[in-house]
């Protein structure tokens, strides 16, 4: 009976966990630098690799780290006085410039109001008076709130997987995936990468 509750609860815990995977036995205090490995382009977007790569070094710099770009397309980030070097690699899992989003909505038909005025006049030759009459009719359509309409717009979506491995031993010490959405591709890329680097820097605080 206990197994009946235990197994689903373990599965639920695993499926809800989106945090980074960290090698608990690795000592991050010994890290002196991080080498950023060149990022390959996403299949559908030439140039995306370089954009993400530039954003990686930009964000490290923004968080106060020294970034050395002496070697083209292989920047090195200074972390501390440690002797170990980590290699940071990034895989672009998604790089969509224009994803179509459909927005269904309720709309209000506020109705119409139509007023008809009828006038008639008649004059008799035998009398001095002319007779006039008029009538007014107003039709009101009260409207309604109905659904079924939709509009669309496009947005950008960027997804990455960041991995860090020890250069000497080759062991994977940290990894996590991120994605972000926005209306502009460059800004979305920037925030997606920033969220990743924000977590990386916490390892060295």
């Amino acid at each position: 009976m206990k197994k009946f509750f235990f197994i689903p609860s373990i599965l639920l815990t695993i499926s809800c966990w989106y945090g980074p995977a960290v090698n608990e036995s690795y000592n991050f205090n010994n890290v002196g630098s991080i080498k950023i490995i060149p990022v390959n382009d996403h299949t559908y977007m030439p140039g995306s690799g370089e954009m993400v790569e530039t954003s990686l070094s930009h964000n490290f710099l923004k968080y106060g780290f020294d970034v050395n770009e002496e070697t083209p397309r292989s920047p090195r980030v200074s972390i501390g006085t440690g002797y170990q070097t980590l290699e940071l690699s990034c895989i672009i899992t998604e790089y969509t410039d224009a994803e179509l989003i459909v927005v269904p909505y309720l709309y209000e038909d506020r109705g119409t109001s139509t007023t008809t005025v009828s006038q008639s006049a008649s004059a008799n030759a035998n009398t001095d008076n002319a007779e006039t009459s008029s009538s007014t009719t107003t039709k009101i359509d009260g409207g309604a709130i109905s659904s079924g309409s939709k509009i669309n717009y496009t947005r950008a979506r960027v997804g990455i997987i960041l991995k860090m491995r020890d250069k000497d031993t080759g062991s994977l010490v940290w990894s996590n995936s991120y994605w972000y959405s926005g209306l502009e591709l460059h800004r979305t890329t920037e925030i997606c990468v920033r969220n990743g680097i924000n977590q990386v820097r916490k390892l060295f605080q």
Binding site: T112, S113, T116
Partner: protein
């Protein structure tokens, strides 16, 4: 006998929300984000619990670099969303904007 009929159209007041969201969509496509937000506010008066509209609004605020307003819109999106993917998206944005 003379019959005179006069038709007076007092007002055709149709298309409130419908029009506003269409205008918002068009403004977004043209990159006029401030204008789009104005139209969305009109549209929300009749559809206050639509998570899709809150998401649209949040993305516009983010594009305009208004993190506090974006955060508020994402929280409303999460509140009214029944869709797992949209909720997940809202949580990611809330986390990112809260960290700023």
């Amino acid at each position: 006998m003379r019959l005179l009929s006069i038709f007076i159209l007092a007002g055709i007041l149709c298309g409130g929300t419908n029009n506003a969201l269409s205008k918002a969509s068009a403004a977004m496509k043209a990159g006029m984000y401030k204008e789009a937000l104005g139209h969305i506010s009109v549209a929300q008066k009749t559809d206050e619990t639509n998570p899709d509209v809150y998401r649209m609004k949040a993305l516009l605020h983010e594009a305009l670099d208004e993190p506090k307003l974006a955060l508020s819109a994402w929280k409303n999106c999460l509140k009214y969303s029944m869709d797992e993917f949209m909720s997940s998206e809202a949580k990611i944005h809330i986390q990112s904007l809260s960290a700023e």
